[in-house]
């Protein structure tokens, strides 16, 4: 059905704009609350050291061709030695990062606080939107959609013949949720707690797993074939000097 529905401009004035303004204000509020509630975290010794070890191993892998073969082999042995090499993680010790996270009370509290500060405002706003702004068409999406989106975008509209492009305010809420991230980074600076989408992505790839990183670095280091690049430099220096002198 290609007929065009005419939407009242009052919808724009009283639904779309107030909803956006409310979401922006709630985001700003959450930012300040999270700043107040943030506790300083003493860095864990093992994690700091492991981070540094990884950086050093990565440097070794990247610039391996710049140092003499003997030194490279010595360093590689230092890192991947079976008994006491830095990158070697004995099988039994490979900790399950999830268990580690929940056993450390500070970290668990921190995660709970972050989760709460994200979930509660979202839930409340969603409920508010559903309660007040349901049952009517709020906007028209400029591009055509398939029928599958009907259940998601047209929750309060119980007419099955309305074009799927006409959506309810729930979809406007979701649009704002993901779209205001850019606006927040403009207003609040780069590091703000309202980065929900980013945080959700972070949570799905579960956090800092040092043991796996170490193992990956060790494998990478074992693979490296050392090819000393320095002999070539003599020829290159010769070329440079020839150009300089001539």
């Amino acid at each position: 059905m290609a007929e065009d529905l005419v939407l009242d401009t009052a919808i724009r004035d009283w639904v779309l704009i107030p909803l956006s303004i409310v979401m922006v204000l709630i985001g700003v509020l959450r930012y300040f609350v999270s700043k107040l509630m943030r506790s300083t975290q003493v860095p864990d010794g093992k994690i700091v050291k492991e981070g540094q070890v990884i950086v050093r191993a990565r440097n070794l892998r990247a610039a391996a061709n710049f140092i003499p073969p003997k030194s490279f082999r010595a360093r590689r042995a230092y890192f991947s030695n079976e008994e006491n090499g830095l990158l070697h993680v004995p099988k039994g010790q490979a900790q399950n990062p999830q268990a580690q996270m929940f056993s450390d009370p500070n970290m668990a509290m921190d995660m709970m606080k972050k989760n709460l500060s994200m979930i509660i405002p979202q839930t409340l706003t969603f409920a508010w939107v559903n309660f007040f702004f349901s049952g009517f068409v709020a906007a028209k999406i400029p591009f055509p959609l398939t029928q599958r989106f009907r259940s998601m975008l047209q929750n309060g509209i119980d007419l099955s013949t309305v074009d799927v492009s006409y959506v309810s305010s729930r979809s406007w809420y979701f649009l704002n949720l993901f779209g205001l991230r850019g606006l927040f980074s403009l207003i609040l600076g780069e590091d703000n707690a309202t980065d929900d989408a980013q945080r959700m992505m972070q949570m799905s790839g579960f956090g800092f797993d040092p043991t796996k990183n170490l193992g990956a670095e060790k494998d990478g280091l074992d693979i490296v074939q050392h090819e000393w690049a320095l002999p070539k430099f003599e020829q290159r220096a010769e070329a440079v000097l020839r150009k300089l002198v001539s």
């Binding site: 700091v48 050093r56 320095l230 002999p231 020829q235 290159r236 220096a237 002198v245």
Partner: protein, 303 residues
């Protein structure tokens, strides 16, 4: 290390402020960001901002960072009373702060009361064992007292934890060279080359240490690293050019009679290096050119 563009920007700002055109605050911010050590300028311009109460209030909350920066610069210039005033102001504002505690311990160190400073740093470290600045200050105390072995010990312990800190590796290398422990210094320079392979200074220092260690293999390696320095610095590094000439003459002296020719070395390199040196001297120090030519002739004759 500061890049060339940043350094030129800093110098431009410094000139501007020196000659009376404003921009002191931008200069101080840039100096703080790049962590350069221009303490006399920082002290002069920082104090002029801090003493003018109008300018000071216009800074807002950055005022306290400026106090910290000026305090450190004052301690570097040994203007200890200025430093004490700044630290007092900071203490009034932030009574229980660890950062201010660190500044107070630095003031004790600047005054020369080593034991008090050491005790202060140890207590600060107990609260936060991962404060890199405090670790390094402890090493500096040991070095200033002349306890080089203690300094080496502290620095090694620091590097066991923070092994990606290339400034610390550089400091350790220089200490080892001053103690003539060249093998250990070579190891440290290798670390530096690994972390920053395109900086010619590290190649040059490594080549110097290898040349000092001596022995045919080290000399050949040193020659290679001198050539990499030349390549990375575009042929402008006179020390590397001299290094090539010295290395080749030393190698040919050692290899006389033995047939261990390095198959990668190019035979024209020493002559090219000496030609480049002569050209440079002609440009910049023409009165020393005769000394240079005679030295180079000696090196070539002995080869």
């Amino acid at each position: 290390m500061v890049t060339k563009t940043e350094e030129s920007q800093l110098n431009k700002l410094e000139n501007q402020v020196d000659n009376g055109g404003g921009g002191a605050w931008e200069y101080l911010c840039l100096a703080r960001k790049l962590k350069v050590r221009r303490s006399d300028k920082v002290l002069k311009y920082g104090l002029s901002i801090l003493n003018d109460s109008r300018k000071r209030s216009s800074l807002g909350s950055d005022e306290w960072t400026l106090y910290e920066q000026v305090a450190v610069a004052a301690m570097d210039c040994h203007a200890l009373d200025v430093a004490k005033d700044c630290i007092n102001a900071l203490q009034k504002k932030f009574p229980e702060s660890k950062r201010v505690g660190r500044l107070e311990a630095m003031l004790l160190e600047a005054k020369g009361s080593w034991e008090d400073a050491e005790a202060a740093y140890s207590s600060l470290l107990e609260e936060n064992p991962f404060d890199q600045v405090i670790h390094k200050r402890r090493v500096a105390i040991a070095k200033a007292q002349g306890n080089i072995s203690v300094a080496i010990e502290w620095l090694n312990k620091y590097l066991e934890i923070f092994m990606a800190d290339h400034d610390a590796w550089r400091e350790l290398a220089e200490i080892y060279v001053s103690l003539q422990m060249y093998k250990q210094a070579a190891f440290c320079y290798e670390e530096l080359i690994l972390s920053q392979p395109t900086v010619p200074l590290h190649h040059l220092a490594y080549a110097d240490v290898l040349y000092t260690l001596g022995g045919l293999e080290n000399l050949q390696t040193a020659k290679k690293y001198y050539s990499s320095t030349i390549d990375l610095s575009g042929g402008k590094n006179n020390r590397a050019l001299f290094g090539i000439c010295l290395c080749s003459s030393a190698i040919s002296q050692l290899a006389r009679g033995r047939n261990r020719e390095d198959k990668d070395s190019s035979p024209d390199l020493p002559s090219l290096a000496s030609a480049a040196l002569e050209k440079e001297y002609k440009l910049q120090a023409s009165d020393k050119l005769s000394v240079l030519t005679s030295t180079l002739k000696c090196l070539r004759v002995s080869s």
